[in-house]
Amino acid sequence: MNARARFINWGAAVLVLVLPFATHALLGQGWVRILDFALLYVLLALGLNIVVGYAGLLDLGYVAFFAVGAYCYALLASPQFELHWPLWALLPMGALLAACFGVLLGTPTLGLRGDYLAIVTLGFGEIIRIFLNNLNAPVNITNGPQGVNLIDPLHVGPWFLEQTYHVGGIEIPLVINVYFLFLAAVGLAIRLSQRLEGSRIGRAWAAIREDELAAASMGLNTRNLKLLAFAMGATFGGVSGGLFAGFQGFVSPESFTLQESVMILCMVVLGGMGNIAGVVLGAVLLSVLPEALRGLGGLQEFLFGKVWVDPSNLRLLVFGIALVLMMLLRPEGLLPARARQREFHESQ
């Protein structure tokens, strides 16, 4: 590692450690919460990146695994069934369950070509959501559209994250506790992604992405490897689902719509699929941008003395335009992977 890279790494490390405190002091609790969600999206985007970026499989129903993890946590740690499992059991459970669903979906469908697979995964995502929405009858399992409430708050061993702690005069409220829990999860996910990418398995995924038939002819069991990518991606989704449920305190089916899947895909592609730094950047950008655009109403008042355009519409409108512009300006993503960059520039 050269001096410049080392400097950047240290800078980034200091930044992510100081960021929540600075945000809390300058912008308030709400913005730290936005950062927490941004980290959750980073986790989801990293998971989808394994499927789309590494193995080259277009998945439009990724949110289903997020939902599985979230409901797993919600049902096993809430008054719904009077169960109160601990976090260390719930997260691996959610990850495992999500992986099982990944295999369940992948087994019959992974033989399909790209866009056919996309629509099948999309359908799967919708099926999961519809079941969550309707499994309150005849036996009430998911509590239907109302969702599950009063979910046990996140706690790590003896530390209950909803408490405010004081360390050396610095106040550490819930949102900052959660930030560091999520940050740890993201750190772990990045490490995992790096190791997978550089391994025998990661190389096999890259080969399948580049030329599936040639890969099979070299002895790669393409179906099993694709299933593995699906299952690995799903575990990330399952874990973030669990964290989401514990943080929110309630879950309902409307958090798991197709739009959510599409947004996570946008994060991966816009950031630069296959490249971890790009995916992280894409996730942070697309989860913070809509929140930052909430200020558009105030801006209008400031500039024109009156709110002319409904800020909630304007916010999404600007977001959509930004999405189009960013993609037009950098079609290979903001921080493309080495290989993708080559791919694009050679084809020009």
Partner: protein, 263 residues
């Protein structure tokens, strides 16, 4: 590439009565072929004779409609290319199919996949065994690049290699799977005379190191000099089989190549 001296004779590959149709098109009909260890076998015939289709059957890409293929004494897993590679048949492609955006070295390392083990857990925890295996994979890949003569290009992106080097890389990648039979689909296509000669040397060396060779080629003279046996296909049927001299003197072969009346 050290393997015990291959025994002459004794069929390594035995295809009997292979037939394949695509809709109304009869691509292959009753084609049989046998080849022994330590041999170089040529598969020739005019364009559209069914040579590549036959290759695709042998390497598990197509399931034959009729007939059987035995490899090393057991039936070949039809229609499952990865299982065929695992059993010991590796191939190259007529229209080169490398992993174009991966490096030259990575391409060959992918070939080692089928003979190595490390799984997800090994990758995640980077165990000592995994690191050892990775090092061994890289080392043997480098060795193979050296073997085919492109060791200097290891870190280049595969898609940017010259045509001839891409063909060599495809051979190195195939050899990385430790095949007992190497199937080359028009390996000399697009090469000049000097390159062809060096390719012939490489093919002989691979054979001498214990891997049988089956190759498709258009240049009949080149094939005749290189091969021990030749099979000729025309319109999806086998029209001749034998030593190069026998085959090239066969009236049906002359007719197929030069047209009716020439014989």
């Amino acid at each position: 590439m050290s393997r015990s001296e291959a025994s002459q004779g004794g069929a390594l590959l035995e295809a009997v009565g292979v037939g394949k149709r695509f809709g109304g098109l009869r691509a292959l009909h009753d084609v049989s072929l046998a080849l022994g260890e330590g041999t170089i076998t040529g598969l020739i015939g005019p364009n559209g004779a069914g040579k590549t289709t036959f290759f695709n059957v042998l390497t598990g890409i197509y399931k034959p409609d009729t007939g059987t293929v035995h490899f090393a004494g057991a039936p070949l897993p039809a229609g499952r290319p990865h299982a065929v590679a695992e059993r010991g048949i590796a191939r190259t492609f007529q229209n080169i199919r490398l992993f174009p955006n991966m490096t030259v070295l990575e391409n060959v390392m992918v070939g080692r996949h089928v003979r190595t083990q490390a799984g997800v857990l090994g990758a995640v925890f980077k165990t000592a065994a995994t690191r050892r295996e990775e090092a061994a994979i890289a080392a043997s890949a480098r060795g193979l690049l050296d073997y085919v003569g492109i060791a200097g290009q290891a870190q280049r992106v595969a898609g940017t290699l010259s045509y001839g080097d891409q063909r060599r890389l495809e051979i190195a990648r195939a050899l990385a799977t430790e095949p007992r039979l190497l199937a080359l689909d028009e390996p000399a296509a697009g090469m000049n005379a000097a390159e062809r000669m060096r390719l012939a040397d490489l093919v002989r060396r691979v054979r001498d190191d214990g891997t049988a060779i089956l190759l498709i080629e258009h240049d009949v003279k080149w094939v005749a000099r290189l091969c021990d046996r030749i099979t000729v296909l025309d319109y999806g049927e086998r029209i001749a089989e034998g030593s190069p001299q026998e085959v090239l003197a066969h009236p049906k072969v002359i007719e197929a190549y030069l047209g009716r009346g020439a014989a």
